[in-house]
Amino acid sequence: MNTEGAAVGRRSFAAIGTINHVLSAQADRVEAAAVIVRQQLAELDATCSRFRADSELSALARGREVAISPLLTELLAAGIRTARRTNGLVDPTVGAAMRRLGYDDDLATIRVRPARSEPLDYQPAPGFWRIALDQSAHRVMIPYGVEVDLGASAKAWAADRAARTCHEQLGGGFLVNLGGDLAVAGRPPQGGWQVSVDDATELDRDDWPIVTVRSGGLATSSTAVRTWRHGDRELHHIIDPHTGDVADPWWRAVTVVAETAELANAAATAAVVLGPEAAHWLARRRLPARLVSQAGLPVYVGEWPEDVSVRSRAAGSLGDQSRTAQLRASA
């Protein structure tokens, strides 16, 4: 039986270049929670957007140590933590590589401008170790030539922060979903939070697998959603720091559950970069995950449950069977 209940409140809004959702296990607290999350995302955008010349990160002097805000300190620390945890598979110094590949504005803007075709210039990321951050003094030195892109960590970190703040200030259970990076705090609704996974296949929403999450974070990274064209190539937004090119699209999407959204997102993005070694890498770190091949078929890691979707449940079959049939029909 679904125990979703009528008490769950939900607000959705656009910010930081994506659609965000705030859910409260107590419907009467969702409005106040949405105010908190909107405010935090406005601060996030003003602090670390690389598409805004007036953001604190864009305006930072290079080549000397400078004072920075506590929020930018936290965001840079999260980016460096992510890079260390993933042994450099996810690196915040890919900003210049992103720009060279054409991802230098919101995707909505990039997609409507004429496609570029000049030869691409691939250069490895300078490396996260070049960022000298003094976290306790709120000071940082970023050398000339190092362009920082916190896109791979900031959103997930912000989801954790927002869910935690809502719980601490309002009491009760909250889920904050920032463009697919989900964080949960407090007591979930009866039956847990039901999360469907859009793995960027052509399948109908009723075929998306649904999992129950009660704590921590869940994140999906995909090579098939945030895409744009350059000449004959379709590019996506996940960069391999070692090459400066987009990661080989071995997987369409990788979804990971972890103790926080920051951890889940770090692992999901690293898995995309790793390609065929990803399932083993995730298993060694005991991270439940679901990886979807380019053909649309899932690989499960650890304790990730077998797929159950709305359609498979109605048909009384496993999600895999329903999914395979749907994929064949749409091929």
Binding site: N2, G127, W129, R139
Partner: protein
């Protein structure tokens, strides 16, 4: 009787030795970077300090091979199979 470690054992030991050296070197590099950061706070535009930070590049680069284990991944959190009904929200590719 004298026994010799098998070739695979020797290879494994050598790899472990290399891995231990790498970890030590990385720790030293990080400590050095933190120290430099502190000094740079006193001498804001001292380029000799900036150069010292850059000098750790080679070592740090070796740490980014993706081969070493890393236990800093929090406690295990497990998703459960959904018991039914529609979803509250969805996680799409970001």
């Amino acid at each position: 009787m004298t026994t010799h470690p098998s070739r695979s054992a020797r290879v494994l030991a050598r790899e472990r030795g290399i891995r231990a050296v790498r970890r030590t070197t990385i720790a030293v590099a990080l400590t050095a970077a933190a120290t430099v950061s502190g000094v740079a706070g006193l001498l804001a535009a001292d380029w000799s300090n900036a150069a010292t930070v850059t000098s750790s590049d080679t070592t740090a680069s070796e740490s980014s091979t993706g081969t070493s284990d890393n236990d800093d991944w929090g406690t295990s959190t497990t998703p459960e199979q959904s018991s039914g009904g529609s979803s509250h929200t969805s996680s799409g590719g970001s």
